[in-house]
Protein backbone atom coordinates (compact mmCIF):
# COMPACT_ATOMS: atom_id res chain seq x y z
CA UNK A 1 0.00 0.00 0.00
CA UNK A 2 1.74 3.17 -1.15
CA UNK A 3 1.53 6.42 0.72
CA UNK A 4 -1.09 8.71 -0.76
CA UNK A 5 -4.17 10.67 0.28
CA UNK A 6 -6.39 7.58 0.16
CA UNK A 7 -4.16 5.36 2.25
CA UNK A 8 -3.58 8.10 4.83
CA UNK A 9 -7.32 8.66 4.95
CA UNK A 10 -7.89 4.96 5.33
CA UNK A 11 -5.58 4.70 8.34
CA UNK A 12 -7.02 7.81 9.97
CA UNK A 13 -10.61 6.69 9.50
CA UNK A 14 -9.80 3.20 10.73
CA UNK A 15 -8.47 4.73 13.94
CA UNK A 16 -11.59 6.89 14.24
CA UNK A 17 -13.99 4.03 13.56
CA UNK A 18 -12.43 1.35 15.74
CA UNK A 19 -11.28 3.71 18.49
CA UNK A 20 -14.74 5.22 18.73
CA UNK A 21 -16.28 1.76 18.79
CA UNK A 22 -13.99 0.72 21.66
CA UNK A 23 -15.06 3.87 23.47
CA UNK A 24 -18.72 3.00 23.00
CA UNK A 25 -18.46 -0.46 24.52
CA UNK A 26 -16.05 0.43 27.32
CA UNK A 27 -17.17 3.78 28.72
CA UNK A 28 -19.69 3.64 31.53
CA UNK A 29 -20.83 7.19 31.04
CA UNK A 30 -23.60 7.14 28.48
CA UNK A 31 -23.13 10.68 27.25
CA UNK A 32 -19.47 10.03 26.60
CA UNK A 33 -20.57 6.80 24.96
CA UNK A 34 -22.74 8.83 22.60
CA UNK A 35 -19.81 11.06 21.69
CA UNK A 36 -17.64 7.99 21.07
CA UNK A 37 -20.37 6.55 18.88
CA UNK A 38 -20.34 9.75 16.86
CA UNK A 39 -16.54 9.58 16.51
CA UNK A 40 -16.90 6.05 15.22
CA UNK A 41 -19.69 6.88 12.79
CA UNK A 42 -17.76 9.91 11.58
CA UNK A 43 -15.01 7.47 10.67
CA UNK A 44 -17.54 5.39 8.75
CA UNK A 45 -18.61 8.54 6.90
CA UNK A 46 -14.95 9.00 6.01
CA UNK A 47 -14.87 5.51 4.52
CA UNK A 48 -17.86 6.41 2.40
CA UNK A 49 -15.94 9.38 1.02
CA UNK A 50 -12.93 7.18 0.28
CA UNK A 51 -15.27 4.80 -1.53
CA UNK A 52 -16.58 7.68 -3.69
CA UNK A 53 -20.00 7.83 -2.08
CA UNK A 54 -19.94 11.40 -0.70
CA UNK A 55 -23.73 11.56 -0.68
CA UNK A 56 -23.88 8.65 1.74
CA UNK A 57 -21.22 10.32 3.88
CA UNK A 58 -23.32 13.47 4.13
CA UNK A 59 -26.39 11.38 4.95
CA UNK A 60 -24.40 9.52 7.59
CA UNK A 61 -23.31 12.75 9.25
CA UNK A 62 -26.73 14.37 9.01
CA UNK A 63 -28.67 11.40 10.29
CA UNK A 64 -26.27 10.19 12.96
CA UNK A 65 -24.45 13.26 14.23
CA UNK A 66 -27.29 15.64 13.46
CA UNK A 67 -30.22 13.61 14.68
CA UNK A 68 -29.55 10.26 16.34
CA UNK A 69 -26.87 11.68 18.66
CA UNK A 70 -29.34 14.32 19.82
CA UNK A 71 -32.08 11.74 20.22
CA UNK A 72 -29.87 9.40 22.27
CA UNK A 73 -28.81 12.29 24.50
CA UNK A 74 -32.41 13.32 25.08
CA UNK A 75 -33.30 9.73 25.92
CA UNK A 76 -30.33 9.41 28.30
CA UNK A 77 -31.37 12.56 30.14
CA UNK A 78 -34.97 11.40 30.33
CA UNK A 79 -33.96 8.16 31.97
CA UNK A 80 -31.55 9.88 34.25
CA UNK A 81 -30.89 7.12 36.71
CA UNK A 82 -29.15 5.29 33.88
CA UNK A 83 -26.13 7.41 34.55
CA UNK A 84 -25.92 6.35 38.15
CA UNK A 85 -26.16 2.65 37.53
CA UNK A 86 -23.01 0.97 38.67
CA UNK A 87 -23.14 -1.10 35.59
CA UNK A 88 -21.28 -4.35 35.67
CA UNK A 89 -20.44 -6.04 32.46
CA UNK A 90 -21.95 -9.46 32.35
CA UNK A 91 -19.66 -12.41 31.65
CA UNK A 92 -16.98 -10.10 30.31
CA UNK A 93 -14.31 -12.66 29.58
CA UNK A 94 -16.46 -15.24 27.74
CA UNK A 95 -18.09 -12.48 25.75
CA UNK A 96 -14.74 -10.98 24.87
CA UNK A 97 -13.42 -14.35 23.75
CA UNK A 98 -16.57 -14.98 21.73
CA UNK A 99 -16.31 -11.60 19.96
CA UNK A 100 -12.61 -12.08 19.30
CA UNK A 101 -13.34 -15.54 17.88
CA UNK A 102 -16.03 -14.05 15.66
CA UNK A 103 -13.59 -11.44 14.39
CA UNK A 104 -10.91 -14.04 13.69
CA UNK A 105 -13.39 -16.29 11.93
CA UNK A 106 -14.60 -13.39 9.79
CA UNK A 107 -11.09 -12.23 9.03
CA UNK A 108 -9.21 -15.50 8.57
CA UNK A 109 -12.13 -17.64 7.50
CA UNK A 110 -13.97 -15.39 5.11
CA UNK A 111 -12.32 -12.10 4.24
CA UNK A 112 -8.72 -13.05 3.58
CA UNK A 113 -9.21 -16.47 1.91
CA UNK A 114 -12.04 -15.31 -0.31
CA UNK A 115 -11.30 -11.67 -0.99
CA UNK A 116 -7.58 -11.54 -0.28
CA UNK A 117 -6.30 -13.16 -3.46
CA UNK A 118 -9.32 -12.22 -5.55
CA UNK A 119 -9.38 -8.60 -4.59
CA UNK A 120 -10.18 -6.61 -7.73
CA UNK A 121 -7.00 -5.15 -9.13
CA UNK A 122 -8.65 -1.90 -10.11
CA UNK A 123 -11.78 0.01 -9.29
CA UNK A 124 -14.25 1.14 -11.93
CA UNK A 125 -13.55 4.61 -13.26
CA UNK A 126 -17.10 5.80 -13.47
CA UNK A 127 -18.90 6.47 -10.21
CA UNK A 128 -22.62 6.98 -9.89
CA UNK A 129 -23.53 10.57 -9.05
CA UNK A 130 -26.30 11.81 -6.81
CA UNK A 131 -28.35 12.52 -9.90
CA UNK A 132 -28.14 8.88 -10.93
CA UNK A 133 -29.26 7.92 -7.45
CA UNK A 134 -32.19 10.32 -7.59
CA UNK A 135 -33.27 9.03 -10.98
CA UNK A 136 -32.96 5.41 -9.86
CA UNK A 137 -34.87 5.99 -6.61
CA UNK A 138 -38.04 7.01 -8.42
CA UNK A 139 -37.65 4.91 -11.55
CA UNK A 140 -40.38 2.33 -12.08
CA UNK A 141 -37.71 -0.17 -13.08
CA UNK A 142 -35.51 0.96 -10.24
CA UNK A 143 -36.12 1.33 -6.57
CA UNK A 144 -39.42 3.14 -6.39
CA UNK A 145 -41.13 0.44 -4.32
CA UNK A 146 -38.50 0.36 -1.57
CA UNK A 147 -38.36 4.16 -1.73
CA UNK A 148 -42.06 4.47 -0.94
CA UNK A 149 -41.91 1.60 1.55
CA UNK A 150 -39.16 3.50 3.36
CA UNK A 151 -41.51 6.44 3.60
CA UNK A 152 -44.22 4.18 5.03
CA UNK A 153 -41.72 2.71 7.48
CA UNK A 154 -40.65 6.15 8.67
CA UNK A 155 -44.26 7.24 9.07
CA UNK A 156 -45.06 4.11 11.02
CA UNK A 157 -41.96 4.52 13.19
CA UNK A 158 -42.82 8.12 13.96
CA UNK A 159 -46.45 7.40 14.79
CA UNK A 160 -45.50 4.36 16.86
CA UNK A 161 -42.73 6.12 18.75
CA UNK A 162 -44.90 9.14 19.53
CA UNK A 163 -47.66 6.83 20.69
CA UNK A 164 -45.28 4.93 22.97
CA UNK A 165 -43.29 7.84 24.31
CA UNK A 166 -46.13 10.23 25.06
CA UNK A 167 -46.89 10.51 28.73
CA UNK A 168 -50.68 10.32 28.88
CA UNK A 169 -50.85 11.16 32.55
CA UNK A 170 -49.50 14.68 32.32
Amino acid sequence: MELNAISIGFVVFTIFTLGGAFGVVTTRNLFQGTIWLMVSLFGVAGFFVLLSAPFLAAVQILVYIGAIAILITFAVMLTRSIARIKERYIRTLPNFIASLALFLILLLGVTIPIFGPHSPASIPEYVASTRDLGAALVDENGYVVPFLLASVLLTAAMIGAIFIARDETT
Binding site: L18, V24, A53, I68, I72, L153, A157, A161
Partner: protein
Protein backbone atom coordinates in the same frame (compact mmCIF):
# COMPACT_ATOMS: atom_id res chain seq x y z
CA UNK B 1 -5.53 2.00 -3.87
CA UNK B 2 -6.62 0.28 -0.70
CA UNK B 3 -7.46 -3.36 -1.44
CA UNK B 4 -11.03 -4.49 -0.86
CA UNK B 5 -10.19 -6.96 1.90
CA UNK B 6 -8.87 -4.20 4.16
CA UNK B 7 -12.25 -2.47 4.16
CA UNK B 8 -13.84 -5.83 4.92
CA UNK B 9 -11.39 -6.40 7.76
CA UNK B 10 -12.25 -3.05 9.36
CA UNK B 11 -15.94 -3.82 8.98
CA UNK B 12 -15.42 -7.25 10.57
CA UNK B 13 -13.62 -5.64 13.52
CA UNK B 14 -16.36 -3.06 13.92
CA UNK B 15 -19.02 -5.76 13.79
CA UNK B 16 -17.22 -7.84 16.42
CA UNK B 17 -16.91 -4.86 18.75
CA UNK B 18 -20.63 -4.25 18.30
CA UNK B 19 -21.35 -7.89 19.13
CA UNK B 20 -19.26 -7.61 22.26
CA UNK B 21 -21.20 -4.51 23.30
CA UNK B 22 -24.55 -6.21 22.76
CA UNK B 23 -23.50 -9.29 24.74
CA UNK B 24 -21.61 -7.65 27.59
CA UNK B 25 -23.51 -4.46 28.36
CA UNK B 26 -26.58 -4.48 30.54
CA UNK B 27 -27.82 -1.01 29.81
CA UNK B 28 -30.45 -0.88 27.08
CA UNK B 29 -29.17 2.40 25.61
CA UNK B 30 -25.63 1.01 25.40
CA UNK B 31 -26.96 -2.11 23.68
CA UNK B 32 -28.79 0.08 21.19
CA UNK B 33 -25.58 1.98 20.44
CA UNK B 34 -23.76 -1.31 19.90
CA UNK B 35 -26.45 -2.36 17.44
CA UNK B 36 -25.82 0.88 15.54
CA UNK B 37 -22.14 -0.09 15.33
CA UNK B 38 -23.07 -3.45 13.83
CA UNK B 39 -25.37 -1.82 11.29
CA UNK B 40 -22.59 0.51 10.25
CA UNK B 41 -20.18 -2.37 9.83
CA UNK B 42 -22.66 -3.84 7.39
CA UNK B 43 -22.87 -0.51 5.60
CA UNK B 44 -19.11 -0.35 5.12
CA UNK B 45 -19.25 -3.79 3.55
CA UNK B 46 -22.12 -2.85 1.26
CA UNK B 47 -20.48 0.33 -0.01
CA UNK B 48 -17.10 -1.39 -0.41
CA UNK B 49 -18.61 -4.20 -2.48
CA UNK B 50 -20.54 -1.68 -4.52
CA UNK B 51 -17.41 0.34 -5.24
CA UNK B 52 -15.25 -2.61 -6.14
CA UNK B 53 -17.76 -4.56 -8.20
CA UNK B 54 -17.14 -4.72 -11.91
CA UNK B 55 -20.18 -3.04 -13.36
CA UNK B 56 -19.06 -2.78 -16.95
CA UNK B 57 -20.99 -0.10 -18.74
CA UNK B 58 -24.40 -0.20 -17.08
CA UNK B 59 -24.99 1.45 -13.78
CA UNK B 60 -25.39 -0.74 -10.77
CA UNK B 61 -26.69 1.06 -7.73
CA UNK B 62 -27.80 -1.88 -5.59
CA UNK B 63 -25.14 -1.53 -2.90
CA UNK B 64 -25.53 2.22 -2.78
CA UNK B 65 -29.31 2.16 -2.46
CA UNK B 66 -29.20 -0.70 0.01
CA UNK B 67 -26.91 1.31 2.25
CA UNK B 68 -29.32 4.21 2.09
CA UNK B 69 -32.16 1.98 3.17
CA UNK B 70 -30.10 0.51 6.00
CA UNK B 71 -29.63 4.09 7.19
CA UNK B 72 -33.38 4.67 7.09
CA UNK B 73 -34.03 1.49 9.01
CA UNK B 74 -31.34 2.41 11.55
CA UNK B 75 -33.03 5.75 12.11
CA UNK B 76 -36.44 4.14 12.57
CA UNK B 77 -34.95 1.54 14.87
CA UNK B 78 -33.27 4.18 17.03
CA UNK B 79 -36.46 6.23 17.29
CA UNK B 80 -38.70 3.35 18.30
CA UNK B 81 -36.07 1.63 20.44
CA UNK B 82 -35.38 4.73 22.49
CA UNK B 83 -39.10 5.40 22.86
CA UNK B 84 -39.55 1.90 24.24
CA UNK B 85 -36.63 2.40 26.64
CA UNK B 86 -38.15 5.65 27.89
CA UNK B 87 -41.53 4.03 28.46
CA UNK B 88 -40.08 1.00 30.20
CA UNK B 89 -38.06 3.31 32.39
CA UNK B 90 -41.15 5.34 33.23
CA UNK B 91 -43.13 2.29 34.24
CA UNK B 92 -40.49 0.15 35.88
CA UNK B 93 -37.64 2.55 36.74
CA UNK B 94 -35.17 0.29 35.04
CA UNK B 95 -33.23 0.22 31.81
CA UNK B 96 -31.85 -3.27 32.12
CA UNK B 97 -33.50 -5.50 29.54
CA UNK B 98 -33.41 -8.63 31.72
CA UNK B 99 -35.54 -6.89 34.29
CA UNK B 100 -38.31 -6.00 31.86
CA UNK B 101 -40.07 -9.32 31.87
CA UNK B 102 -43.69 -8.30 32.12
CA UNK B 103 -44.48 -10.04 28.87
CA UNK B 104 -42.76 -13.26 29.88
CA UNK B 105 -45.05 -16.18 30.63
Amino acid sequence: MVPLWMYLAVAAALFSIGVFGVLARRNAVAILMSVELMLNAVNINLVAFWRYSETGTDLLLNGYVFTAFVLIVAAAEAAVGLAIIITVYRNRRSVIPEEARALKG
